[in-house]
Symmetry: C2
Subunit: 426 residues, 2 copies
């Protein structure tokens, strides 16, 4: 295949999320040199992150080392580094201690939480984007019950057993459902001075309904299923302030120890270093073939891209979009190497689903809508199929089966940071 006279073109992919990894798999073993750069050494299966945050799964169950996934193809190099900027003129990607040259670039650095200008809320109400976030949320949720068990002040105990989730999108709905479930079932009989099933779980959403991207009947069904679990759903409600003590929701102050942020995203800062237009939340405005203006060798995909050529609206920041764009960008590069033009991207929407709890979910499969147990089974099936790596799939299946049969959650660990312990009290 490879002509010794021609130097293989160098492709760089930044980001090993759903988009970047799909692109890398497509280009692995092709006639290119491929460098995949990510700041983590693993690909994270983000849709199950809320299960780590609620102690059902371990971090390693939903993460697979990128090196191992791509180890078979010798033309692929994986670099653990944080990209600081892209110089599109020089065709260079810069990290702290090294500069990488490229012929073709796929930028897939994703998004992080946005606190709408209230960065001070981040420590008070963590979001759920990374494994570190998930382990921190798990720690806070479990610690709240431990604190409630030993505290003797009634108001403090009530606040410790109140959980406020800000944002009624899929992450907010999943977290609310999962916290309600562990308090009603898993922890119910483990305490002596509190009844965990009395925990208040409050879901705050600014819009008139939950899951704004779903059809109205499914939004309504999600609300009903959450109410069945005892979650208080407040739509048309806005968190106007967050403090250690609680959350101000419009006129009412809700004392609570644990607050969870699921309300907004902002695109990775790397997009801004391309010197092309970005939208209000930092997403790079891409051409209809995923390239950027004036630089067909640079493609931007996934949560970092604003692709508005199909419906007039940007495509949503969900994994199917990122994966389809990843594969498309990889094929575009192979086309350009052959001297052809990059092709227009079109998103094929197979529908979406959100889970709420055991036997509780909604699924919008375009031609029909599912709720409750059928939706949950569909969700389970799809998520197991897509989990990266054979081993993870079996392990997760085993843990789910166990959790389903026993109501037990296996990963109820409160871990701290390294070296914050072992210290005699001062």
């Amino acid at each position: 295949m490879q002509s010794p006279a021609r130097k293989q073109p160098q492709v760089i992919i930044v980001g090993a999320g759903f988009g970047g990894l799909e692109a890398a798999k497509k280009l692995a073993c092709e006639d290119v040199r491929l460098t995949l750069i990510d700041r983590s050494n693993y690909h994270l299966f983000q849709p199950l992150l809320y299960q780590v945050a609620t102690a059902a799964l371990s971090p390693a169950d939903i993460a697979a080392p990128v090196r191992a996934i791509l180890s078979k193809c010798k033309n692929v190099e994986v670099i653990l580094a944080e990209v600081e900027s892209v110089d599109v003129e020089a065709r260079q990607v810069r990290t702290k201690d090294r500069v990488f040259d490229y012929d073709y670039l796929i930028l897939a650095t994703g998004a992080r939480h946005s606190y709408f200008g209230h960065d001070e809320w981040e420590k008070l109400a963590p979001g759920l984007k990374s494994l570190e976030d998930a382990v921190e949320l798990r720690r806070r949720i479990l610690l709240a019950f431990e604190y409630a068990e030993k505290i003797q002040d009634e108001a403090a105990r009530k606040a410790a057993m109140t959980f406020v989730i800000i944002g009624g999108g899929p992450t907010g709905v999943e977290m609310a459902g999962a916290i309600a479930e562990i308090s009603r079932y898993t922890l119910a009989k483990n305490f002596r001075h509190i009844d965990p099933s009395q925990a208040r779980v409050i879901l705050i959403e600014g819009a008139p309904c939950l899951l704004a991207a779903y059809p109205p009947d499914l939004s309504e069904s999600a609300r009903k299923q959450l109410l069945e679990l005892g979650v208080e759903v407040r739509t048309n409600a806005r968190a106007t302030n967050i403090t250690e003590e609680g959350v101000q929701v419009d006129g009412e102050f809700i004392p609570c120890r644990v607050k969870i942020w699921a309300a907004g995203n902002i695109a990775s800062f790397v997009g801004k270093t391309l010197s092309v237009p970005v939208d209000r939340v930092g997403r790079v405005i891409v051409n209809d073939d995923l390239t950027i203006s004036g630089h067909p060798e640079v493609q931007v995909i996934g949560d970092l891209a604003n692709f508005s050529h199909q419906t007039g609206e940007p495509l949503p920041g969900i994994s199917p979009v990122a994966m389809q764009q990843g594969r498309h960008a990889a094929r575009n590069i192979l086309r350009m190497i052959r001297g052809e033009k990059p092709k227009q991207f079109r998103y094929f929407d197979k529908g979406s689903m959100a889970t709420i709890g055991r036997n509780k979910a909604v699924a919008d499969l375009k031609f029909f809508h599912l709720s409750g147990r059928p939706a949950w089974l569909a969700w389970l099936f799809v998520h197991i199929i897509f989990l990266v790596g054979f081993r993870n799939r079996l392990l997760v299946l085993f843990q789910w089966a166990w959790a389903y049969l026993s109501f037990d959650k296996g990963a109820r660990l409160i871990t701290r940071n390294f070296q914050s312990e072992h210290r005699p009290p001062a």
Copy 2:
């Protein structure tokens, strides 16, 4: 059973390690009020900690929530708190925000690493006592290979691929064997610029042989099995200094990025607050019935106790001693409640085993010694049997079977502390 006229005696157990948990299980559902205090919410199966540090198992695989273990007996209360001191005169256990009264106390707060006065070495060469330690070591070991892959300076690359383990007891032997294995097998084909199987693993021991507590033939066998894995074993060698850059071993400076401390223990500081004699490493000198002088209502067990009544030497800090003492202390309390005297403790030694790698181990079963595969199978069997909780046992068995068949390690995650990420570079 319970006479309404008599108030149930209050028993406090501090520490949910092997000793404390065994005592708690024995007293659960007996006619006492039992409070178990620990600073973690889980019981840790410490003998498998090295497998978390080397990415074979996840933290949740070797830890079980204490509440769940003891949830069936209504007389047991579990408190997550760090004990600061014991007032034996007032019969009180003090934590930061609450004081607990007791009629009977079992103190089982264990031991931590000792750096022999060089506390500044702790950050440079972490030990392996807690889940946090294990995750930190896993991070350092995996990061070293990542760093070696991308660095271009040959000396720095060599240092990144050199691992020095200080201390040739069971932990040091296990860590050396496990690091050698992941570099020779698991990671071997995952890199492009380095050959992980060329990693140097150096085990330093001050004494003339490894595993000093084992019979000489097994010490020698352990050495040979480590050499087969390519580990450099240096006995009669002492680490005289540790810096970021490496370890000074007598006259030679060994440049290395990752250093692991497995050389010494010091008992928990809580023992010193009892106002009774402690030994050189802070262990409480106990009577032959595990009580302390003048206070038969206080018993000290496990790694915190110096029990020298059987052989003249203190019993070793291993789980069988702690478990037998835990059960004995619990029975002593039931005796004292009935008006009887506490009974003398005798340790029944069933032997001990240390693992080195796949098909590599040593087992001292008193009447016969095993090496290699038979020892490894014995080790595997015993450790699965003793792992707390049915679910953990199956999960671990599954992961071991997988690791054995595939040479893969499932938990190769480099995780950071919460909120040390998501930051654009300054």
